[in-house]
C-alpha cells in the first residue's frame, strides 16, 4: 500500500523534481554527508577543498557556474562564507537556492553553537555573531545535521525520497556505532591540554573533553603575532599544553615554532574530508583525527 501511495506522490512530484539532485556544498564535510545520504542519486560539488580556508575564498566564476545549476546549497552558515557565498547566490540567477527557499540549507543553524559572543565588536577580531561555525567536528552534530538534511533532500527530490531515507538510516546506524568506538578510543584524551592555531576545533574539544589553553591567533582571524606566541610560551611554564593543533589549510610556521620552543608535538588534524590521505570520508575524518591525537599525546 505504502508503495502505491508513494508512486502516486512521486508521479505528482515528477514534474518538478529532476532525477538527480545537484548539491552545491560550500565545504567538503557537508558534501561528503550529502554523498552518504544520496549515494548515486546526487551529484555533489564542493566549493572548497580541505586546503582552502572557507572564510577567505572568493566568488570565483567557477562557483557561479556551479551555483547556477544547483538544486540544493548546503552551507555552513554562521557567517563562515559571508565573504563570497551571498554574492554567488545572488549572481547565480538561481531562484531555488536563495536563503529562505528549501534549496538553501545551513548546517550550523541545525545545532547548538559554541562561543556565541556576548559582545559583537571587531575589536575582538573576526567574531561571528552566530557563534563558532566549525560545528562538524562533534560527530553528534553531524548526526543532527544529517537528520535535517535528509528531510530537505527528500522534500526537494521526492522521487528519490525513499533512497535518501534508506541512505540516511544506513549512515546513522553506522555513525552511531562509530561514535561509540571513537569515544572509547579517545577516552585517554579527556582533559588533554592543547593549544590551537584558530578556534577550528572548539566542537572537537567540547566532545572529547580536550582543554584548549590558548590559540596562536591573538584574536580570531588575526594572524599569529610574535607577541601572542611569546605570551603562550610564558603561559607554557605555568600551565603546560601537550599538543598544538592546526588544520590542513593553516600555515604550519607558527605551530612549528611553538613546538620547537617547547618540545610538544605540532599536530596537523585533517579538520575536514580530504585534509589527510586517511580522511577519505566522514568516518575516515574522525578515525584519523583520533589516531593523530592519540599518537601526539603518547
Amino acid at each position: 500500500m505504502k508503495r502505491i501511495l508513494f508512486s502516486l506522490f512521486a508521479l505528482l512530484a515528477a514534474n518538478v523534481a529532476q532525477a538527480d539532485l545537484r548539491v552545491f556544498a560550500t565545504v567538503p564535510e557537508w558534501g561528503a554527508l550529502a554523498r552518504e545520504i544520496g549515494g548515486d542519486k546526487v551529484q555533489v560539488y564542493s566549493a572548497t577543498n580541505a586546503f582552502q580556508d572557507p572564510h577567505r575564498i572568493e566568488a570565483k566564476p567557477s562557483l557561479l557556474a556551479q551555483a547556477r545549476q544547483a538544486g540544493l546549497v548546503v552551507a555552513v552558515g554562521a557567517d563562515l562564507e559571508i565573504g563570497w557565498l551571498p554574492l554567488v547566490l545572488r549572481d547565480s540567477g538561481n531562484a531555488a537556492i536563495q536563503p529562505g527557499r528549501p534549496g538553501y540549507f545551513e548546517a550550523a543553524a541545525q545545532v547548538n553553537r559554541l562561543d556565541i559572543p556576548a559582545v559583537v565588536d571587531r575589536a575582538h577580531g573576526d567574531v561571528h555573531a552566530a557563534g563558532n561555525p566549525h560545528i562538524h567536528l562533534d560527530p553528534r552534530n553531524v548526526l543532527k545535521v544529517a537528520e535535517k538534511l535528509v528531510a530537505r533532500m527528500a522534500e526537494l527530490d521526492a522521487a528519490n525520497a525513499t533512497a535518501y531515507q534508506a541512505g540516511h538510516a544506513a549512515f546513522a546506524s553506522k555513525w552511531q556505532a562509530a561514535m561509540a568506538r571513537w569515544e572509547k578510543e579517545a577516552a585517554p584524551l579527556k582533559g588533554l591540554p592543547v593549544l590551537v592555531h584558530h578556534q577550528s576545533f572548539a566542537y572537537l574539544s567540547h566532545w572529547l573533553g580536550l582543554k584548549e589553553l590558548g590559540s596562536l591567533e591573538p584574536k580570531p582571524g588575526i594572524e599569529p603575532s610574535s607577541g601572542q606566541l611569546s605570551a603562550l610560551l610564558a603561559q607554557q611554564q605555568r600551565q603546560p599544553a601537550r599538543l598544538v593543533l592546526r588544520t590542513a589549510y593553516q600555515q604550519e610556521g607558527p605551530s612549528q615554532w611553538i613546538a620547537g620552543k617547547t618540545g610538544m608535538p605540532a599536530v596537523l588534524l585533517p579538520y575536514t574530508v580530504g585534509g589527510t590521505p586517511e580522511a577519505k570520508d566522514l568516518f575516515g575524518l574522525f578515525d584519523d583525527t583520533i589516531q593523530r591525537l592519540l599518537k601526539g599525546a603518547r
Binding site: E58, P61, A65, R68
Partner: protein, 468 residues
C-alpha cells in the same frame, strides 16, 4: 513524510471516489484504518518512552555534560522593527600625496571628461596635493523581500553627498536571469564595477580616467539584464540601457534611452590553483554640446562643443593564482584591460565664457572623428597574510583625431601618455589597509610627474562580499 503520503492518499481517494467502485473504496478505507492504527500504536509507544525518560531524569539529574550556557541557541533577536535593519558599512579612505603642482592637470590628447583641463572640472584622479580625504562611502543593503534586494552607496565629501549607486536586484527570477534597476556601475570592463576601496592601486588606471573621467568608472540610471548560461564553464551575457548622462555622453532631455551597453564574460579554473575571467564589452552613447576647452592656434583658449556618437570597446582579462586555491597566505593576481573609443559627429568652435573677445573660429562647425585606444596591465602579489606588492604599467594612444576645418584653430596634440606605478600595502585584517604607492606619471606632454601616495582604507560595519 508518511503523514504527507496519507494526506495525498486521502486526497486521491476523495477525488477518485466517484469513479472508483465500491470494492476499491472499501480497500482504501481499510488501508487508511490500518495506517491509523499503526500510527496510534507508535504514538502510544513514544508516550510510554517519554514518561520513562521523564521518570529517569527525575531520579538522576542529567549526568550528561550540559552544553555551556553560551551554547544555547539564542532566541531570534528582539522582535522589534530594529531587527529589519539593513546591513550597514562605512568606508573610510584618505591619503597623503606628493606630486608636481600642475595647473592644467589632464591627459594630453584626450577629451577632458570634466569639460575643463584644469580647476574644478579637471580629471580629478584623486589629485589633491598633501593630506586629503577621499570619498567617505556609506553602504546600505538588504533583501527587500524574497524577490528583490536593494543597495545604496552614498559618497560624501565636504558638503556634498552623492548617490553613487542606488539599485534593486532580482533574487527570484531563476533561469540564470539577473535584473538590476536604478543607478548602478555598468558591467562593462573589469574594474568598472569596483569601488575605489577595492582597487589595488591608489588611483584608477589612466584608461578609466580617459574613458569615464572623474570617477574612473561608468555609471548610469537604467536597467541591466544578465543571463548566466547553465554550463560548467562560466558564461555570462549582459545588456544595459539607461540615461547615458555621464561622460562620454551627456544628459539630453529626451525620452527613450541615452546609452546602451552589452558585455559577455567567460571564466573558469585551471587546476585547483588558478581561476580566470575574460570579457568583452561595448558601450554606445551620444553627446550633445559636450564642452571642453582647447588650447588654440590663433587664440590662447577656445571652446569646442561635440555633438555625435561615442562608441567604446573594452576587452578585459583577469588571472588569479593561489597555492591550492587558498588565497589567505599567498596569491597573485594579473589583470589587464584594453579599450578603443570611436567618436563621430560635429565639432563647433565657441568663445569661452571668460574670454575678452570672440575667438577667430567662433561658430565654425566642422566634422569630428576620433579613434583612440589604451591599455594597462597590473600584477599584485600577496606574499604573506599581511603584505602585498604590485606593479602597473599603462599606456594610451591619442590615435586618430580629425577635427576637420576646426583643426586650423584648435591645437590637436598627438601623444602617447604613459604611467608606471609600484605599490606595497599592509593589511592588519580584512578590514584595514594602508598603502604606499610610487608612480611616474607621463600623462601630460612634456611633464614627468613623480608621485608618492600614502593611502589608508578602512571598512567598518557589515562584512562585505567582494566580486572576483
Amino acid at each position: 513524510m508518511q503523514k504527507r503520503f496519507a494526506m495525498a492518499a486521502m486526497l486521491a481517494a476523495s477525488f477518485g471516489a466517484h469513479a472508483a467502485d465500491n470494492s476499491e473504496l472499501a480497500a482504501i478505507r481499510a488501508q487508511i484504518d490500518d495506517m491509523k492504527r499503526a500510527y496510534e500504536q507508535r504514538i502510544a509507544a513514544l508516550e510510554q518512552k517519554l514518561s520513562q525518560a521523564e521518570a529517569k531524569s527525575a531520579v538522576a539529574p542529567a549526568p550528561v555534560v550540559a552544553a555551556p550556557a553560551a551554547a544555547e541557541r539564542r532566541p531570534a533577536a528582539a522582535s522589534s522593527a530594529s531587527g529589519f535593519n539593513p546591513e550597514v558599512s562605512l568606508i573610510l579612505q584618505g591619503q597623503y600625496k606628493n606630486m608636481k603642482d600642475v595647473a592644467e592637470r589632464g591627459i594630453t590628447g584626450f577629451w577632458p571628461a570634466g569639460g575643463h583641463d584644469h580647476g574644478e572640472g579637471a580629471v580629478e584622479g584623486i589629485n589633491k596635493r598633501g593630506f586629503s580625504l577621499n570619498h567617505t562611502e556609506l553602504v546600505l543593503a538588504a533583501n527587500i523581500d524574497p524577490y528583490w534586494r536593494g543597495q545604496a552607496i552614498i559618497a560624501t565629501l565636504d558638503g556634498t553627498a552623492e548617490v553613487e549607486e542606488a539599485w534593486f536586484q532580482s533574487l527570484g527570477l531563476g533561469h540564470g536571469i539577473g535584473l538590476k534597476g536604478g543607478r548602478f556601475r555598468s558591467g562593462i570592463g573589469y574594474l568598472n564595477e569596483q569601488h575605489p576601496h577595492m582597487w589595488d592601486f591608489a588611483d584608477a588606471p589612466l584608461m578609466y580616467q580617459a574613458m569615464f573621467g572623474t570617477h574612473g568608472s561608468y555609471a548610469q540610471d537604467g536597467v541591466q539584464f544578465k543571463w548566466l548560461a547553465p554550463t560548467e564553464t562560466f558564461v555570462e551575457f549582459g545588456a544595459e540601457i539607461g540615461r547615458g548622462a555621464n561622460f562620454p555622453g551627456t544628459d539630453r532631455n529626451k525620452n527613450g534611452s541615452g546609452a546602451a551597453a552589452v558585455f559577455a564574460h567567460v571564466g573558469g579554473e585551471v587546476g585547483v590553483s588558478n581561476s580566470w575571467r575574460a570579457g568583452v564589452s561595448y558601450l554606445t552613447t551620444r553627446a550633445k554640446s559636450r564642452t571642453a576647452h582647447f588650447a588654440g592656434t590663433v587664440d590662447d583658449e577656445v571652446e569646442g562643443l561635440f555633438d555625435g556618437r561615442s562608441q567604446s570597446y573594452i576587452a578585459d582579462f583577469v588571472w588569479k593564482w593561489a597555492p591550492n586555491g587558498n588565497p589567505k597566505y599567498q596569491n597573485f593576481k594579473l589583470q589587464t584591460e584594453y579599450f578603443q573609443r570611436r567618436e563621430k559627429g560635429d565639432l563647433t568652435c565657441a568663445t569661452p565664457d571668460d574670454a575678452g573677445a570672440a575667438v577667430a573660429c567662433d561658430g565654425l562647425l566642422s566634422a569630428y572623428r576620433t579613434r583612440q585606444s589604451g591599455w594597462y596591465a597590473q600584477g599584485v602579489y600577496q606574499f604573506t597574510p599581511h603584505w602585498r606588492a604590485g606593479l602597473r604599467y599603462e599606456q594610451l594612444d591619442s590615435g586618430v583625431r580629425d577635427f576637420g576645418d576646426n583643426a586650423a584653430y584648435l591645437l590637436v596634440d598627438s601623444y602617447r601618455p604613459k604611467k608606471a606605478s609600484a605599490m606595497i600595502d599592509y593589511s592588519w585584517s580584512e578590514f584595514s589597509r594602508v598603502r604606499l604607492q610610487y608612480a611616474q606619471d607621463k600623462s601630460m606632454l612634456g611633464i614627468t610627474d613623480n608621485q608618492v601616495t600614502v593611502q589608508y582604507i578602512m571598512s567598518l560595519g557589515a562584512h562585505g562580499a567582494h566580486k572576483f
